[in-house]
């Protein structure tokens, strides 16, 4: 492999990491900070993508589509928080698992009912289409650079919100002891609804942004969900920085693994077997990474005991 290709693949890995962070950002808030296991997060991601596709089909405007994604996901988030999640904060994690699993079923099939069983069309705006040339002769899709930017901005914004503002402190305090923070005069229910809606909105925006270069279809949220959980857990629950680093690690591992492992095995195996073994191993790689990280740091890279 030429150095330039290697650099390009590293870039791809980082890019895919930032994209992962974008997808995990909302979950970082809801799961990482509020401490709520929300399996339906992937559904909110899907809601965003579908709302964007629907609006873009009608208006042709990507900006409007993004706004629609944000609004639809935030609204869906607020509704499920008030109707369901709110009753579950003081319950066992397992009740949250069951309830949000039920929400997945409702959202997935509800979306299919509304939009049919076939994938929808959502494309990147013309202005952002096509590649740009980076130094070193690397051709890189402009839109992906935009995604990187969006991911970085959201990472910074979240970090500031959680670590630097009083609202962030109150959310974390609420996660530690809801009853107590309420007894000190904080309307934790309203705050949580807001934050949940914000997390949902982030998921929705990610769904729309990423949906434009992937397929917008029912069930698109579930693989993302697992990946997002992996990212957050590797980084350490509750740490935005951790989630970001975790996302980059997973992105790099996944990309470079799928490129390098088959080459590695080709060194001493016949080509067909090498590609196949390499590919098998690379699909396991992020799980091996996660298990490895947790074995050495049982609370993730930046997590606290």
């Amino acid at each position: 492999m030429t150095p330039i290709l290697l650099i390009e693949q590293v870039l791809n890995g980082l890019q895919s990491g930032v994209m992962l962070f974008l997808m995990a950002a909302g979950l970082t808030l809801i799961f990482g900070v509020m401490g709520l296991i929300n399996l339906a997060h992937g559904s909110l991601y899907m809601v965003g993508a579908f709302a964007a596709a629907a609006v873009s089909a009608v208006t042709g405007s990507f900006l409007l589509a993004l706004i629609a994604a944000l609004a639809a996901a935030a609204a869906a988030g607020a509704v499920i928080e008030v109707a369901v999640i709110r009753r579950l904060y003081d319950r066992d994690h397992l009740d949250q698992v069951l309830a949000t699993f039920a929400l997945i079923l409702i959202f997935s099939e509800g979306t299919r009912y509304l939009f049919g069983s076939f994938p929808l069309f959502l494309d990147i705006p013309k202005a952002l289409a096509g590649p740009v040339s980076l130094p070193g002769g690397i051709q890189y899709p402009l839109y992906r650079l935009v995604i990187i930017l969006a991911g970085l901005l959201i990472a910074l914004g979240l970090f500031a919100l959680i670590a630097r503002t009083r609202i962030g402190i109150q959310i974390r305090a609420g996660a530690a002891d809801r009853e107590m923070i309420a007894a000190l005069g904080i309307d934790i229910s309203r705050l949580y609804t807001l934050i949940f809606a914000l997390g949902a909105a982030l998921a929705g925006v990610a769904g729309a942004l990423v949906g434009a270069i992937q397929s917008v279809q029912v069930g698109m949220g579930e693989p993302v969900l697992i990946l997002a959980f992996v990212v957050i857990v590797i980084g350490g629950i509750g740490s935005i920085k951790g989630a970001f680093v975790g996302a980059l690690l997973v992105g790099l591992t996944d990309t470079l693994g799928s490129v390098l492992l088959p080459m590695f095995f080709a060194g001493f195996m016949e080509p067909a077997a090498a590609t196949s073994v390499g590919a098998s191993l690379s699909s396991m790689l992020i799980y091996i990474l996660m298990a490895g990280v947790l074995l050495f740091k049982p609370t993730g890279l930046f997590g606290e005991a």
Partner: protein
């Protein structure tokens, strides 16, 4: 007018009733000692006042209005501050974050709390979970003060504190009462210390208020009968 008034409070945890008609009244700037043996309902009464626990009978009036229907954050915003039993600091947050999480403007701010408890200033960036027991207790008190309440509920707030610190706290309480007219309900085990600070006392026995009167009226005989000392 009474700042706080409990009349005939009944309360239960699920099926098991813990309070059977508790009465208590308190004026602005007064300190009331809430006493009784272990398990008699002191903490339950405190929880009812700050609306952490919904009572099933009787009424709670604060500042002239019936607050039974309010959620606990609204009661807190009316000016009820709580130092709960067992500290309940926000374990993953730092000392500073614990203090400012729910702070409301007023004379008690971070600097003032650090003056009362210098230890908290020294440990400002440390996670609450890693504080010593006594430091956590200081933190819980500081946290409640930072909400600048007009009524402060201290449920075993000096548990686990060194004698010097306890003395400082009682001194601070006396000052609070004197300077800012804060009212307090204090649950504490040391009768001697309470005598120095409380105006009157209410004694609970099996969830009912069985004795109330001024601190001076609480003589040996009463103490012996209800508190076992």
């Amino acid at each position: 007018m009474n700042l706080l008034e409990l009349r005939g409070i009944n309360a239960a945890y699920g099926p098991s009733q813990a309070l059977f008609g508790v009465d208590l009244a308190l004026k602005q700037g007064e300190v009331c000692a809430l006493m009784g043996r272990n398990g008699m309902g002191k903490s339950t009464t405190i929880k009812v006042i700050c609306r952490m626990l919904r009572h099933s009978g009787g009424e709670v009036r604060f500042d002239g209005r019936e607050i039974s229907a309010l959620p606990s954050h609204r009661a807190a915003r009316l000016g009820i501050g709580l130092v709960p039993e067992g500290r309940r600091c926000f374990a993953p947050l730092t000392v500073h974050e614990n203090l400012i999480a729910a702070a409301r403007p007023g004379p008690w701010d971070f600097a003032a709390v650090c003056e009362l408890f210098p230890r908290l200033g020294e440990r400002r960036g440390q996670q609450a979970a890693l504080l010593s027991g006594g430091e956590q207790q200081m933190l819980a008190i500081g946290r409640a003060l930072m909400t600048n309440p007009t009524l402060l509920l201290l449920d075993e707030a000096t548990e686990g504190l060194a004698p010097v610190v306890r003395q400082e706290i009682w001194a601070a309480v006396a000052k609070l009462k004197r300077d800012s007219g804060m009212a307090l309900i204090v649950v504490d085990k040391s009768l001697a210390e309470l005598r120095g600070i409380a105006d009157h006392a209410v004694i609970l026995e099996r969830g009912a208020s069985v004795w109330s009167g001024s601190m001076t009226a609480l003589d040996r005989q009463v103490a012996d009968q209800f508190l076992g000392v």
